[in-house]
Symmetry: C2
């Protein structure tokens, strides 16, 4: 008897018919002799609607009350899904995150899971029940309701799979698996049968919206067997696995892009120890994720620093940087938000020199200007103008022959 | 410095503008130097929408999952109201019922409050914050989420006022106070300045939807000073007080009616001890409230029993009664659901004989047939056809001269 954790995203439970279909799918998996824990997101658009309602009342609500508000979305989903299972005579019980013992830190709207108490779930599994858990949410040790941020339901699922030592964690979504790139941009994009944690992590971080990067990190850390598949089409999805399970390491496995990119430039700052840390500490305290950082070669002990942040955080980041800029004597602070990041990812890159050069060559051939570059062992990312993303992805997909990936 | 508990119903927080108005009202009361605890219901219609959604998925959802679903309604309200107060710089914190320590029994969808832990609220009041609490909900000692049933938010407010020893409990609603009867039926109906707990209790039980009877019971038991007033019009409402505060005891203070009445008749049951208890125990176990009970004079050791139940519970009650009917050898079981109850209420009735007779006389004059009668020290209720309610109320209001009540 296997223990399977399934996660269904917001579009998978988007209306009454879909909720019933999910219930049927759970019932089928269970009747094959599996124990089931099911994580559900808020019904599609609910979270956005709640946020929009909140903003009408208060343009800047406290994050504590935002969590209080948003946590209701998943609570509705778990109750409805439990009712759908009751209707087809599957024994079931639902729990909110706080109720089931998902303990987080106290960073409201972006909380991290600290601990999961599994007794309650294990007790109900022993009674042969399907256990439904609200994704995206937990509580602090002081009983404050927290949410994990966007994509947090994936994280809940993987964390539960790790804590319960589940045999498999299936992430059901509205796509059939992980593709070489976004099929809406490149119709020839192919579904991958397998991908490594590291590749998935790069793809996830870089904006392929299939899996939240934190969930992939967690899966890698606790060796959780992950599978991404469609809740609408009954087809095998993409397995996310350790390196050794990949039979042939492709040089480039996938392309990702991210439109949520803004750039801030800080000019003429003294080349002294601690200057960069002043800027980035300030941003870290405000919980702003800095992605790429480029520091120019110094001239006369003066530096220019440029970095990217999520577009949503640009205003907050600018405010902080302008304050610190005065303090450290920066001559000018610039910003731009018409940018995007395109990336190529592949575990095979480590042993294949020239992949980055090929990428730059393809972009240059298509007259696409590169504003910033960042590389890791298994990915190369370029910041370009956002209106050139589609052209870039199309050209790179052709150039790296990703349509032939499963052949 | 007074401690005031305010409760706002669903229509009072029915849209963004109303939520902002409620926040302003709270801020005004606070700036007069009061400590504030505020209980909020779900935004108007939310609960009904959630129930309708649930029924599309499962016509008979378990009451546990129903509570899981319904509890989200108030959680949305408390978060939005807290945000509205934040927007006008009032220090505030919101809590769900389970979170703040409202402990109930485990009768899902109809739970009763067993205990309230006030430390959390008192801690936040000491920090000078307005404390917002979700009405209608609590948790069992096993952390299961429960709801208190319709009108439960009034009960939450009064229970909190009792536990916190508040100086006043204000119930804000969409009417200006308690009226002699429904102003929609009798335009001349007058607002009462004061009413006793007992009178209010009869009026509440009998279907005047201003206050939930459980909340009035609780207020009487713990001597909570209650006030019912409008959240739309800034006028003094109706104070609900102990007997001695009423200056003149009116013979009849108010008229109430209830359209949620169904009757069940059980014919030819043996006149033996335990027969009635068999029927009513069965109904009690199913949590069905039986209201009036009439047992006919016996003939040949055979009885007829008739009683009323809420119309919503008729199907469930019939099923139970038919089963027990077979067991006890009843010859026939009948039912009717085109009935209503009209009642006259007044603390002065105790010392005024002939009030019941006057009521029967007025109804007879208007050709209204009485199907069942029940009386207490301060009320007389008659079951009549539901299509005659309006005529009855109009005639009784005129007959008892209730339009002259405050003069």
């Amino acid at each position: 008897m296997a223990l399977i954790v399934q996660k269904y995203g917001g579009s998978s439970v988007g209306n009454v018919e879909r909720i019933k279909r999910v219930a049927k799918n759970i019932s089928n998996t269970r009747s094959q002799g599996n124990q089931m824990v099911v994580v559900v997101s808020a019904v599609a658009d609910t979270t956005d609607e709640l946020i929009s309602l909140a903003k009408q009342i208060n343009p800047k609500p406290s994050s504590r009350e935002m969590d209080m508000l948003l946590a209701t979305g998943e609570q509705v989903s778990i109750a409805l899904l439990a009712m759908a299972l009751e209707a087809i005579n599957v024994p079931v019980i639902s729990f909110t995150g706080p109720q089931v013992g998902i303990i987080t830190d106290n960073v409201h709207t972006k909380a991290r899971i600290k601990q999961i108490n599994t007794e309650k779930i294990e007790g109900e599994l022993a009674k042969d029940k399907v256990v439904i858990v609200a994704g995206f949410q937990g509580k602090t040790i002081d009983d404050e309701i927290t949410t994990l941020g966007r994509g947090g339901s994936d994280t809940t699922a993987v964390a539960l799979a790790a804590a319960l030592k589940a045999d498999l964690c299936e992430i059901y979504t509205d796509v059939e698996g992980v593709f070489t790139t976004d099929p809406r941009i490149v119709p020839k994009a192919s579904k991958l049968d397998r991908i490594t944690y590291d590749e998935m992590l790069e793809l996830a971080t870089l904006g392929a919206k299939v899996l939240h990067p934190r969930s992939v990190e967690l899966a890698k850390l606790y060796d959780v067997k992950l599978c991404v598949r469609s809740s609408f089409v009954n087809k095998e999805g993409t397995f996310v696995v350790k390196n050794q399970l990949i039979e042939k390491d492709l040089v480039v496995t996938g392309l990702a892009y991210d439109l949520n990119v803004a750039k801030i430039g800080v000019f003429d700052v003294p080349d002294e120890p601690g200057i960069a840390s002043k800027i980035f500490d300030g941003l870290a305290v405000a919980n702003i994720n800095v992605d790429m950082i480029v520091q120019s070669a110094m001239r006369n002990n003066i530096n220019d620093i440029a970095f990217t942040v999520p577009k949503d955080d640009l205003d907050k980041a600018l405010q902080i940087v302008e304050e610190i800029g005065k303090e450290i004597g920066a001559s000018e602070i610039t910003h731009a938000d018409d940018l995007a990041k395109v990336s190529i990812v592949g575990a095979g890159m480590i042993s294949s020199p020239g992949v980055a050069a090929k990428m730059f060559h393809i972009l240059a051939e298509n007259n696409i200007n590169i504003e910033m570059i960042s590389t890791s062992e298994i990915k190369v990312s370029c910041i370009i103008k956002s209106n050139e993303v589609e052209k870039a992805i199309q050209a790179l997909h052709d150039g790296f022959e990703l349509d032939k990936i499963n052949s």
